[in-house]
Symmetry: C2
Amino acid sequence: MTDSPRRAPVTRAGATPAGRRRLRRALAAAAVDLFVAKGYEATTVDEIAAAAGVGRRTFFRYFEAKDDVLFANHDEIVAEMEETFAAAGPDRDPVEMACAAVSLVLDSYAAELDVSLKRFTLTRTVPSLRDKEVATVDRYQRVLARYLRARFAEQGDETASLRADVAAAAIAAANNHVLRRWLRSGGQDDITASAAEAFALVIDAFRPGGASEGPETTVVAVMTTATPLHAVIAKVNAALAEK
Amino acid sequence: MTDSPRRAPVTRAGATPAGRRRLRRALAAAAVDLFVAKGYEATTVDEIAAAAGVGRRTFFRYFEAKDDVLFANHDEIVAEMEETFAAAGPDRDPVEMACAAVSLVLDSYAAELDVSLKRFTLTRTVPSLRDKEVATVDRYQRVLARYLRARFAEQGDETASLRADVAAAAIAAANNHVLRRWLRSGGQDDITASAAEAFALVIDAFRPGGASEGPETTVVAVMTTATPLHAVIAKVNAALAEK
């Protein structure tokens, strides 16, 4: 072994990043099961640690408090979002990019259906866990807003900061709407289809320069050139008013 | 006195709704001063109660916990929002109505500049208070979403629930943006002007049927009727593409 003797001691399960990730997930799964079985308040950190096969001190190496364990992979997802933004080309529409980044949250929920469903029950029934979840979403939202603010400012938008805050909130809300719908269906709902619908609504709403630039506003005016000009204009106006 | 002898005992300051409101505010103001002066964690409920001239038991008649005191008039504002919605005519645009209701939050902050500024410092520096604030905003947002969902559904919108969640989040974010900007300016910023700008952005984004129905998308096509039809169409298309 050529390791420096001053290297920090490594715990068995936490030796590698993958091992640490596994242990975090094991602690989260054990916690969720205990919270559902005996109640959130009645469950102790010692019980969670024991159920995951580790000690109390190991638990606190991974989480600051009992209520953090429910959103175990929050930091991971935030880091992946930042990587997605860093890797994005400058030509991608900022709102589309932010939707792509936030869908990492959907992926992470979909990858662990059982834990996700139990957590959903808990956040609906335990107010402090509900508050914790809301705070977690707020952190994602701030990551989105920071990215959008920079991109909108590059595009010369004088209201970049306002627009970024509003769009980030809309994107997070669309994401949560899809997530809740999917969880209520017990994971049966087509999450990809509802995500596409929800993100399309947001992308449309925050299209740069307003929706008037999109292809949706192309007006097809049917007219014959024999009609006098004022009548053509009247017909065009009537068609526009009818839309 | 003709009061029933079974009537619950009344505390001196809490006899009337107005008196209760005054005492809530006094407790909140005392708490904010103590939190700023000696730190949130170090301040006890006993100290807050004493500073407002009441006992510990009175404090707990008004607030469930120490961290509730910072958002003392939350319930009042939510009730006023509900009244605003109940009184609104069916012809008012739902998103405009929701913006009008959420601006009650701005009014309440503006009415108590000193407390608002101190609370702003606290929520930026104490993570648990920041989380509490986020949870408070989430509750306003759910009130807005419920109203919008009902109104959008009345309008026959099949995506009423999604649209309501997204619009409510956008409105709350616009409101918070204005509030933070005003607080950062020490209450000097023109809160009415920035609120008008922020709400206009949201109303525009969530205009029913997309911005294509608004007057902004009226296309003025200048053409002579002697021009052949295909050339007219080509000119119209070119004009639309240029917009």
